[in-house]
């Protein structure tokens, strides 16, 4: 990407992220907040992709923009008519969020600059993976090689966790998603 374009796109997308986050926090009805969260995830996924992390971007787009939205909507369908509207805004959660954000910003001061080749994470095992992936597997994406092959058992464990979570959610929702609410009617 050209040097001129990159900062403009980043600033624009990050501004949209801040606007959407404020929208999620300030909206009073759940449905709009869920829609905003979907748009937020979409923007976040775009940013992840621009940071050259397509696997994280895929996860964000699949989980954040679609699956979480579906789960929110399914939960709202089950709780139809019992939504508490306009709870008063409380000071304490805002303070806790701001404090956490301040701590994260403070901690981020010590991080190496973005995409710096001298960062510690690029000096330990990464050169070894980069050298071996080409001759051992022969496909271009080293991240995929690490996740699916070098750390295959780790990824298998993650799949078990996600499967268990999926089964639990299906059990909670009654196995039929949003259709469950319609079945229950007298």
């Amino acid at each position: 990407m050209s040097a001129l374009l990159h900062p403009i796109v980043n600033v624009a997308l990050l501004t949209m992220l801040v606007l959407l986050a404020l929208g999620i926090a300030l909206r009073r009805d759940l449905f709009s907040a869920a829609i905003y969260a979907g748009a937020f995830s979409m923007t976040m996924a775009t940013l992840f992709l621009l940071l050259d992390a397509p696997d994280v971007a895929f996860t964000e787009a699949a989980i954040g923009a679609s699956l979480t939205l579906i789960l929110f909507l399914a939960a709202m369908t089950r709780a139809m008519g019992s939504e508490k509207i306009a709870a008063p805004r409380r000071l304490m959660p805002i303070l806790v969020s701001l404090l956490t954000g301040a701590f994260i910003l403070y901690g981020a001061q010590d991080l190496p600059p973005h995409a710096s080749p001298a960062a510690p994470i690029h000096l330990h095992v990464a050169p070894d993976y980069l050298a071996r992936t080409q001759e051992e597997f022969g496909f271009p994406n080293v991240v995929t090689a690490i996740l699916a092959s070098y750390r295959g058992f780790d990824t298998l464990g993650e799949v078990y966790v996600i499967f268990t979570a999926g089964v639990a959610i299906l059990a909670l929702l009654g196995g039929a998603g949003t259709a469950g609410a319609r079945r229950r009617k007298p």
Partner: protein, 93 residues
Amino acid sequence: MTSLVFPLMVFCLLSAMLLALLRLFLGPSLQDRVLAANVFGTQSVLLLAALGFAGGRPDFLDIALLYALLTFIGTIAVLKFFRARAESESAKR
């Protein structure tokens, strides 16, 4: 001259995304918001495609196509939610 085309396109797309965001915030009806969110998703897909070509990485196009499929799932979920809510409201009357 051709080097100006992609930056201009990206700039236009970003402006359009901001406008969609504005509609998302202003509403006023729920359908407006759903449509705005859908347009916003489509525009981020287009933005990815444009950036992929601007940066000489046309493989972004595959990823952009996958995003388009994913936003479609979200829209279907929203429409099913509308139907379920309309049915529960007509049952109350």
